[in-house]
């Protein structure tokens, strides 16, 4: 293994970056999967609920829940990119700086 890689591996900041970023990425992944499979399970087993009108109209609960699932995908990516392009990239920059 080359020397730089070895030095990065033993840098505590690298360990910190990996720990924080993995925990964050997996948490958001699980959140997305729970939302998506929650929706699919509602479709498979909770048709009655999704088909219940909200109030007196014909708009059912299924509509806002479906839209929420779509919007949540976008929001979760936004949350990740915001932290990764800020905090994580800064940490990464410091790690590369330490090589010099």
């Amino acid at each position: 293994m080359n020397q730089n890689a070895q030095r990065i591996l033993s840098n505590p900041k690298f360990q910190e970056l990996i720990a924080k970023r993995s925990a964050f990425a997996w948490t958001l992944s699980v959140a997305m999967l729970v939302i998506y499979y929650g929706f699919i399970l509602l479709v498979a087993f909770g048709k009655g609920f999704l088909g219940t009108p909200i109030g007196a109209g014909v708009t059912t609960w299924g509509i806002p829940i479906g839209l929420f699932t779509i919007v949540s995908a976008f929001i979760l990516t936004g949350i990740y990119v915001n932290r990764a392009n800020g905090e994580f990239d800064e940490l990464n920059r410091q790690i590369m700086e330490d090589l010099k």
């Binding site: 730089n4 890689a5 990996i18 958001l28 998506y36 498979a44 999704l50 014909v58 708009t59 779509i70």
Partner: protein, 570 residues
């Protein structure tokens, strides 16, 4: 009428879990009648072609090195790449198909849109930046990073070419049928035009032209769809409730279109479908290539963020357009006529969904006509053609790169090929793929090709994705595990799909399917992962030990971008 609706439900149930894949495939199936020549559409399409050829000329002058040709010099921004990725995803058929599903079934169309979207956040969280940090031009660069080049590159190239070929056939046949219907042009001419233009974009303009063609089309499609959704909502004073009420009152299924129907009942199919969509997206070679066109991991992340936003927005628009279609097509117009139905309903009865001219996939096109007149109808038709063109160009470039970069430069020339030769091989391959796909398009004109996109997705999910993911995440993986696991994924996915209801029963006409599920994803993906694991941990060869030791360096690069490819100087 009841018979007609039952038939639709039956057809959808038969296509089952592959419906969304089919939606991405041929927009128009079966025999279509050639329509009167649509001059507005032809003129607008010509304007698009001239403009994109201008861009190709501009791109050609900037395309000199291999990095320019495969990865647009690495100088695409995250926002541009997000639009291009969204463009790859928003095919003509997903626009027409999902709007058609909503028109016929209401709420159920939304379920599919959601399934198509949720893979993107996962790709961002777990794959995007590692991929960008490790790769150069093709996903095989990443998959083979610390392994023996020849076997892994050969397998990855086979996976890429299989995916690209099935996807291309479906797109070519879809293009021919759609153009015949929209432009009033002969099928064969439509296929030849698509083939020749894509050869032109890719050979001269490489990835730079391919990306810009995709961006322009994405902007056209998003603007057109936004305009339609705006016009539809405006008719109801921007009250979705008012729109839903009107739709319920004219749709033969009535209030049932507001709740989930019979499309997804069995959880195994639902999970299998979800896995194939999610992992398939992350294993499509033409989409993975786009991650190498941006400067660094930061831009790669932004790409996915913008792409998710555009795709999600597009699906919400398609949902509104589908409901608009119910109102424009099934309700009488101001003169009391039904211009988009083959026959007006009997007095007092509701119009049948299936009496729509051209089939349910024409729902969005008719709606365009109703809200925007002849000129807008021409515009949307031109957008549909442009969409197919942009998607096939990306596919062709991915196929050509697998041959030139993986097979020629790495396997055949063992890394000793010079750049000029590699690009030449790539251009020759592009011409060959173009010509072959024209012939395949003609050969498959009267075949049912909808299952082929499903096949492409399942192969991508079962052969390409497991190797790619495990090579980045699991240090104990070896060449042997990768080759055996990938091969098992490839063979098992194709076999189970062919023996399943979509091909064995629906295409080959056998009375019953041997494999019970439409989508083998759950099984073939699992098999592939288990095989990679098993054949890696039992591998104690000298080579395997070395590959395991090399993981740490790969890991550092994947996490930090140490030594990663940068953007080229110009």
């Amino acid at each position: 009428m009841r018979a007609a609706t039952t038939r639709i439900a039956g057809a959808l149930a038969a296509a089952g879990a592959l419906v969304p894949a089919a939606v991405h495939a041929a927009a128009v199936e079966g025999a279509v009648q050639k329509q009167a020549t649509n001059w507005e559409a032809i003129l607008m399409f010509l304007a698009f072609v001239l403009f994109t050829l201008g861009i190709t000329y501009w791109a050609a002058r900037r395309t000199k090195s291999a990095k320019d040709f495969y990865a647009a010099g690495g100088g695409i921004t995250g926002f541009q790449n997000g639009l291009a990725i969204a463009g790859d995803y928003m095919s003509a058929a997903s626009f027409l198909g999902i709007a058609g599903l909503v028109y016929a079934n209401g709420f159920d169309g939304l379920i599919f849109s959601v399934g198509w979207l949720v893979g993107w956040p996962i790709i961002l969280f777990l794959v995007a930046e590692r991929l960008r940090n490790l790769g150069k031009y093709t996903f095989a660069d990443v998959a083979s990073y610390r392994f023996q080049q020849t076997p892994i590159r050969t397998l990855s190239a086979c996976g890429s070419l299989a995916t690209v070929t099935f996807y291309l056939i479906a797109q070519m046949v879809g293009a021919g049928k759609l153009i015949q219907l929209l432009f009033g042009m002969d099928y064969i001419w439509a296929v030849v035009i698509v083939g020749v233009l894509m050869i032109g974009y890719v050979t001269f303009g490489g990835m730079l032209a391919t990306t810009w063609v995709q961006i322009i089309k994405a902007v056209m499609l998003l603007s057109g769809a936004s305009f339609m959704a705006f016009m539809i909502l405006a008719k109801f004073g921007f009250s979705p409730e008012a729109m839903f009420q009107a739709a319920v009152s004219v749709h033969p299924k009535g209030v049932a279109i507001m709740s989930p129907g019979a499309l997804i009942t069995d959880p195994v199919s639902a999970i299998s479908l979800g896995m194939a969509l999610m992992f398939g997206t992350a294993g499509l070679p033409h989409i993975l290539m786009r991650f190498f066109t941006v400067a660094d991991a930061k831009e790669a992340r932004k790409s996915v963020f913008y792409a998710t936003g555009f795709i999600g927005y597009f699906y919400i628009l398609t949902f509104i357009i589908g409901f608009g279609a119910i109102l424009m097509i099934l309700a009488p117009d101001a003169n009391g006529a039904y211009p988009f139905l083959t026959a007006a309903p009997a007095a007092g009865a509701k119009a049948a969904i299936t009496s729509i001219i051209g089939g349910t996939n024409m729902a969005a096109i008719h709606t365009a006509h109703a809200v925007g007149g002849d000129l807008f109808y021409g515009f949307i038709s031109a957008v549909a053609f442009a969409t197919i063109l942009a998607v096939v160009a990306g596919l062709t470039l991915a196929g050509a790169s697998a041959v030139s970069h993986d097979l020629y430069a790495s396997v055949f020339a063992k890394g000793r090929a010079n750049e000029a030769d590699e690009i030449r091989v790539s251009k020759i391959t592009t011409v060959i793929i173009g010509i072959v796909s024209i012939f395949l398009g003609i050969a498959f004109e009267n075949q049912n090709v909808a299952f082929m996109v499903g096949l492409a997705f399942v192969i991508a999910a079962s052969a390409n994705f497991p190797i790619l993911l495990m090579s980045m995440f699991w240090g104990k993986m070896t060449t042997r595990g990768a080759v055996i696991g990938g091969t098992i994924g490839l063979v098992s996915s194709v076999t189970m799909l062919v023996l399943g209801p979509t091909v064995w029963k629906a295409v080959l006409g056998n009375p019953a399917a041997i494999f019970p599920y439409d989508n083998p994803g759950l099984f073939s993906i699992t098999l592939s992962f288990v095989a990679i694991w098993f054949f890696s941990i039992t591998d104690n060869s000298e080579q395997a030990q070395k590959e395991r030791r090399d993981f740490e360096a790969q890991y550092v690069r994947s996490q930090t971008g140490l030594g990663a490819e940068g953007a080229s100087a110009h």
